[in-house]
Symmetry: C2
DNA sequence: TTTTATTACGCAACCGATTGCGTAAAAAAA
DNA sequence: TTTTTTTACGCAATCGGTTGCGTAATAAAA
């Protein structure tokens, strides 16, 4: 009953050609204002809606941007996504979001699907175990903008958006040292990922600067999963020299550690000082409030969005792959400071 | 250099018709196995990739599902989205996600855009201020599955996926009463939204059941924003009869309240017992751990996903609009229990 | 061997826009 | 008034698949 109406219907109803209708609707200059008005009026009257499928086919563009993230449901990632969505949406693009669930195979599949879906650009934050990058070859070969964020990899002609994890790790660690910590432990995430390995580098550098030797026992690699907490607690309790400072690569995990340590009657910050990472909402709500590094997810998303849009519009400037580094910030709260 | 190759290229290379190629690739029964093999082999050899734009145009389907949520970056919503994404992705659909940012106008815009983009179905969680629903009329008229979740509205032929907020509110409140609270305060979100108004109904019902009269002062409507905390604290301090039980419509906000109340030297749970809502990760990490109602976001997403998929596949059964209600669960922790 | 039923594929219309090229009509210049 | 330049549109090809219908070739039945 509610037949879809096309430009041909409009053309027939107005006694003009379909081309004229199309140009009128797109405000093409070679159509007189009078005709444009007539077409637009009739379009409204009949409730015309453009068929994106046809537009896409004929222009070979989808007005759609693909995103692949490890997991949608993390505070940080959802902030990033919110920023991306807002930005690209204002520019008239839709966002197709998919999760790799930290599996390279899924990431590959998603990359392929999105390619076939004809996304105009792709934003990626890599899975833990991604170690080859052939699945991005299509994009590069066909000049489809490809941007990495947070969990990145350097590929020719691809922008990356990151924060300076090494520097942030350095500052967090140095802060602990300045608060008087003598024996630090870095509780890291998977070291295959740049974000965590770089933070560890900063950690080491801070130790070095303050004439503290880094030993293997100063770092514990975990999955940052609540289930790992007992392992961490045992590790801490079994060190011959008592650990008095903790640099944890995630606020939520740090919060879990705080809870478990308090149960073991560690006093925070008196016995052991703790600093987290990310500035999740949780960090200011635990007791004691958690010192941390502010890691601006939303801003990162906005920036990523702006970056794609500008690449998509300024099609001419084959700008050399640029890397944007966001500003982070040390936030001192009571978990490291009496 | 890297020319896109089409079914016509394959057809020419193999000396068959384009139709045969198409049918071979789609494993149509009217093509012999031998020919299918040849086509597939050649397709791989030449690196053929199907052009979704063309497929979409000719089938008038996009294999894409639209989602409109108020905000991407909330714990609960990102859980929901993660569940949806996983489910529909396994069924071969892509997900276009957009945010209304709690504004009906944006919601309308998104609904229209997604319609024009040709989504095969739409999942919606409503904005705060949505009070008319014309923007969903297209979907209903054109028989595009439309499913509401969490923040819902009853429209003909639309499924809804919810939890029993009223019952949950009732249980949370009754729990406080059973713990000995005499003067309760419900800190609600915007009462125009069903989720909050229903919880309040449950709150009232529990009072009634226990012969406690509900007065207007027993409910405080807020935006559940951290900025509202001082208002809440003042409100509590200024009651002539001391409040000894708090039912807060969000865990994060409850956590903020706990922090502020502790600063005011209220003892929790001795002076005042608090129960939240959602079972956010934060709830078990604050001090004291927060009693709450488990509100299964991820499961809700999965269910929503399954619901769309089944509607999309079983195209025949014009199933009467059905409403799925998920099971919630009272979780008792130390904020209500000594 | 002839007739009937299957199988395997080709033909061409169709989905609904976009766009380069050509031209009649109107406006400007000669 | 005639010629030249603009303006405003129409025509038809194109994007790359899908699919109903028709038929030659092969297999099964008579």
């Amino acid at each position: 009953m509610d037949k879809k109406i096309t430009i041909y219907d409009l053309a027939k109803a107005l006694g003009v050609s379909a081309g004229t209708v199309s140009r009128s609707l797109n405000n093409h200059r070679s159509i007189s204002d009078k005709t444009k008005q007539r077409v637009i009026a009739k379009a409204n009257e009949l409730g015309y809606q453009t068929n994106k499928f046809a537009v896409n086919l004929s222009t070979q563009k989808s007005n759609t941007i693909g995103v692949i993230v490890p997991k949608l449901n993390s505070i940080f990632m959802s902030d990033v996504l919110a920023g991306i969505e807002k930005t690209v949406n204002e520019a008239g693009y839709n966002l197709i979001i998919s999760q790799s669930l930290e599996m390279m195979e899924k990431e590959k599949l998603n990359a392929k699907t999105l390619y076939n879906s004809g996304v105009d650009a792709l934003l990626v934050s890599l899975a833990y175990d991604t170690n080859d990058f052939d699945h991005f070859a299509y994009y590069i070969r066909h000049n489809i903008p490809l941007i990495f964020l947070d969990r990145v990899h350097n590929l020719p002609n691809c922008s990356t958006i990151i924060i300076n994890n090494k520097q942030a790790g350095f500052e967090a660690t140095e802060h602990l040292i300045e608060q008087g910590c003598k024996n630090l432990l870095c509780i890291s995430g998977n070291l295959k990922r740049n974000v965590y390995s770089e933070r560890l580098m900063g950690f080491k550098e801070a130790l070095a600067k303050h004439q503290m030797k880094f030993k293997k026992s100063n770092c514990l690699e975990t999955e940052l999963d609540p289930n790992d907490v007992p392992k961490v607690i045992n590790y801490i309790k079994n060190q011959k020299q008592a650990i008095d400072g903790l640099f944890v690569a995630s606020d939520t995990f740090a919060a879990h550690c705080i809870k478990a340590l308090k149960k073991e009657h560690f006093r925070i910050p008196e016995d052991i000082k703790i600093i987290g990472f990310n500035n999740d909402p949780i960090s200011e709500l635990v007791t004691p409030p958690l010192s941390t590094i502010n890691y601006p997810g939303y801003e990162m998303g906005v920036l990523a969005g702006q970056s794609v849009i500008s690449q998509l519009n300024g099609s001419l400037d084959l700008q050399p792959a640029n890397s944007i580094t966001l500003r982070h910030q040390l936030i001192i709260r009571e978990s490291t400071h009496i």
